[in-house]
């Protein structure tokens, strides 16, 4: 069976599963209309971001987080430079809800578009900037997501087995997030931790040195699957009905399969870069 045929069958199966579940469980489900609506949050503030991919960022930054769900269950989610997950623009269908759980069929950016530029010394001893990873397309995938809300604790599982763009063979992206919130006077404190799995196909695509790099002396590397682990603590304070003061600290320990790549080993040694990702933000947000 051809790759494209397999992909179409998988997409249809996931869609049918979602729609059939919606029909089968219709009586038990929570009123879909109750979940319609959304919000848009635009923030402006200070951001510190150190990671292996880009030079350290330290200064003014814009943040955007939004979600809107229609009465029929279709939704759109956007997250750019956000203090939460940076998943870009995603669309989905919320097909089943209970008191505690929401089930969605959704697109997901399993890996953002990645370009890494590093300086290499050429044959004549001159330092030249060289693009070591140039993957301009993000890994847009399709998957099933279950989100559980239990008072102040949230859990979310996601499995995405279908790559929507044809950049490489289908891989699997999966994630598990757990978050808990506390209220201290009018402050909201959140602690979140998550683990993200990326299969070999995804990590091979981004982290195996290209033929050009290998001919320039970078050793070959076979990337395997791997898990990223993230922890985040954030605090929010409502200044008015629309304006929030927010701050957060976030740390991601990348999979060994990523950090062992000769590309990341080399680039993480560059000043202002690091093998892990650390992000700190202090911002004012306007919630529409």
């Amino acid at each position: 069976m051809k790759k494209s045929e397999r992909k179409v069958i998988t997409i249809l199966t996931l869609s049918l599963l979602a729609f059939n579940s919606s029909q089968l469980w219709a009586e038990a489900e929570q009123n879909q209309e109750d979940l319609s609506g959304g919000f848009l949050k635009v923030g402006l503030g200070y951001k510190f971001d150190q990671n292996p991919y880009e030079d350290e960022r330290n200064g003014l930054a814009m943040f955007l987080v939004g979600r809107y769900q229609m009465e029929n269950g279709l939704f759109v989610e956007a997250s750019y430079g956000a203090n939460q997950r940076q998943e870009g623009l995603n669309i989905g269908y919320n097909f089943y809800n209970t008191t505690h759980w929401n089930f969605d069929l959704t697109t997901i950016q399993a890996f953002v578009s990645t370009e890494i530029i590093a300086n290499f010394v050429d044959d004549e001893g001159i330092l030249e900037p060289f693009t070591v990873i140039d993957k301009s397309g993000a890994s847009e995938m399709l998957g099933l997501r279950a989100t559980g809300n239990f008072g102040n604790t949230n859990v979310q599982f996601l499995v995405a087995p279908v790559l929507l763009n044809n950049d490489y063979d289908d891989g699997v992206y999966a994630s598990l997030w757990v978050g808990h919130s506390w209220q201290l006077k009018n402050w909201g404190i959140n602690a979140t931790t998550g683990i993200e799995y990326r299969s070999e196909e995804i990590l091979e695509h981004y982290f195996e040195p290209s033929a050009a790099l290998q001919s320039a002396g970078v050793p070959s590397y076979d990337a395997t699957s791997g898990f990223d682990v993230t922890a985040q603590v954030s605090a929010s304070y409502p200044i008015s009905e629309n304006i929030l003061f927010e701050s957060y600290v976030r740390y991601t320990d990348f999979a060994d399969s990523i950090t062992d790549s000769p590309i990341i080993r080399a680039t993480s040694q560059i000043p202002e870069r690091n093998e892990a990702k650390t992000e700190v933000g202090i911002l004012f947000s306007y919630v529409f």
């Binding site: 109750d34 979940l35 609506g37 959304g38 919000f39 402006l44 503030g45 200064g59 003014l60 987080v65 979600r67 809107y68 769900q69 989610e77 939460q84 997950r85 919320n94 809800n97 929401n102 989100t147 809300n149 949230n154 979310q156 997030w177 978050g179 919130s181 209220q183 006077k185 009018n186 402050w187 909201g188 959140n190 979140t192 998550g194 929010s236 304070y237 409502p238 200044i239 008015s240 009905e241 629309n242 304006i243 929030l244 004012f284 919630v287």
Partner: protein
């Protein structure tokens, strides 16, 4: 040079943003009538959360007398004044719903004036939009 002017422009936008936030907050302390309350609103993060606010109530009447201040949160008076025509009261209020404060003559049910502390919130309850997503 170009980077510098870009940074200055961004800084200006940020300053305007902060000033507009402060001016919104400042407008919450107007006075009116016999009894006035400041601030008039308590803002919680989520609808249904307990909201904490330090309020200050001031009252003034033309005639001296014995007056008591009541709130919708409790049956007994918050404070009584003897032989006064003005007074003030400060306390931290913790509430989920609007709180109405009223001034009455001592041993009477006549309301001479009232003021409302309104509850407000950023994220509405029963809307999936933030509860499932904002956390992450």
């Amino acid at each position: 040079m170009k980077t510098h002017s870009k940074a200055t422009k961004s800084l200006n936008i940020f300053i305007v943003f902060v000033i507009s936030i402060l001016s919104i907050n400042a407008s919450a302390s107007e006075t009116e009538g016999v009894i006035s309350i400041s601030p008039k609103q308590c803002i919680a993060l989520n609808q249904g959360n307990l909201c904490y606010v330090d309020i200050e109530i001031t009252w003034s009447l033309q005639e001296q007398g014995n007056y008591c201040l009541f709130s919708s949160q409790q049956e007994s008076s918050l404070q009584c004044w003897q032989g006064k025509r003005a007074g003030d009261f400060a306390r931290e209020i913790v509430a989920k719903d609007n709180v109405v404060f009223s001034l009455k003559p001592q041993n009477s049910k006549i309301i001479l004036g009232s003021a409302k502390l309104e509850m407000a919130w950023v994220y509405k309850k029963n809307n999936r939009s933030h509860s499932t997503w904002r956390m992450f």
